[in-house]
Symmetry: C2
Subunit: 206 residues, 2 copies
């Protein structure tokens, strides 16, 4: 009988090994050899899945993006208020617990590596585009529901909100006491509160 | 006659070589060997200045911080309006021209490396602390001059403004067309305009 390989199961096994390595030792530790050892595979078996180190880094990056994406989707199922959903969605990008702190660290080490690697930079670009598009869409839903000024430019606001979350994540990663969880959340919440209250001041065309 | 070594001049020479390398080939290219070659020194002479690669990376990081710091100080000499000075100071952190784009790239690749190197993380922390303190001080001056609501918490606002600038810099680095210079500037300006207009909504104690 020919050997049947369940590729989805093997991918999940690899994802688990990559995540375990990356979350404990950082992206620098994610090498073909180390992942093979962690998964209990031979390096030879692994190269059927990853041509090189870059493919492995991309895989690790997508794991982070998928984890955040799953939580964002779950929030959408539970939260009926569109403005509160904007808040909960953006909050998934803040390093507020151990899981999100790990994701943030991996995200920014990937960013550093992507500066000199076009394939990684492309993945980064697509991830940001999707992240902004999601936030912009939720802002428009909040506008339609009468929870936000209809004049607000959702694309611009999405870029600014994503930027705020990213920047808070950078500071919080290196200064967890100064940028504590409650403080990060408060800064995001203030920003959203001002967005709600800013209808009157935004009369001038851009 | 004993050989007289002008250490300041030699440091300036090294700074020039490190900057030339880092700005054209990235932080990864900044090695003792490459800097020695770029400066026309022997590697042996260089180790009197830098014990290891980490010392060299710290030096490169400080060069970036000093460059931004000099422009921020120059802006303070020329700009009498404290609120406009907040704007000009923060704008120095946005990648709006070739020089600042290079600085931004080096800043974020250093950030990636700092995630696993405590000495680099410390330098990063101190730089952010100084950056936030500077912005907070300018916000207080704007408050004293009656240009901003005196109730505004300058430390919090400084953290949020620095976060916004950082996050915009990340997106602009990977998507220079989507986050063009004028758009980055407009997003920062809108944020500052809302800060000015937000006195009325901020009546509740934090």
């Amino acid at each position: 009988m020919p050997k049947i390989v369940d590729h989805d199961a093997r991918r999940a096994e690899l994802a688990e090994a990559v995540w375990r390595l990356a979350s404990t030792e950082g992206l620098e530790a994610v090498t073909l050899r180390a992942v093979a050892a962690q998964a209990g595979w031979s390096t030879g078996a692994l190269v059927h899945y990853f041509a090189d180190k870059e493919a492995l880094l991309l895989f690790a990056f997508r794991l982070v993006a998928e984890r955040v994406g799953r939580r964002v989707a779950a929030a959408a199922e539970r939260e009926p208020d569109p403005l509160e959903l904007v808040r909960r969605t953006l909050t998934e990008g803040l390093p507020l617990d151990a899981e999100r702190r790990t994701e943030t660290r991996l995200w920014f080490s990937f960013l550093g590596l992507a500066l000199t690697r076009p394939a990684l930079a492309k993945a980064q670009r697509l991830a940001y585009r999707a992240w902004r598009a999601r936030v912009a869409q939720l802002l428009r839903e909040a506008q339609r529901a009468g929870r936000l000024d209809p004049e607000l430019d959702s694309e611009r606001e999405a870029a600014a909100l994503v930027a705020l979350v990213d920047g808070l994540a950078v500071q919080a990663t290196f200064e967890p006491r100064t940028l504590s969880g409650p403080r990060q959340q408060a800064l995001l919440d203030e920003r959203l509160a001002r967005l709600q209250g800013s209808g009157a001041e935004r009369g001038s065309p851009a």
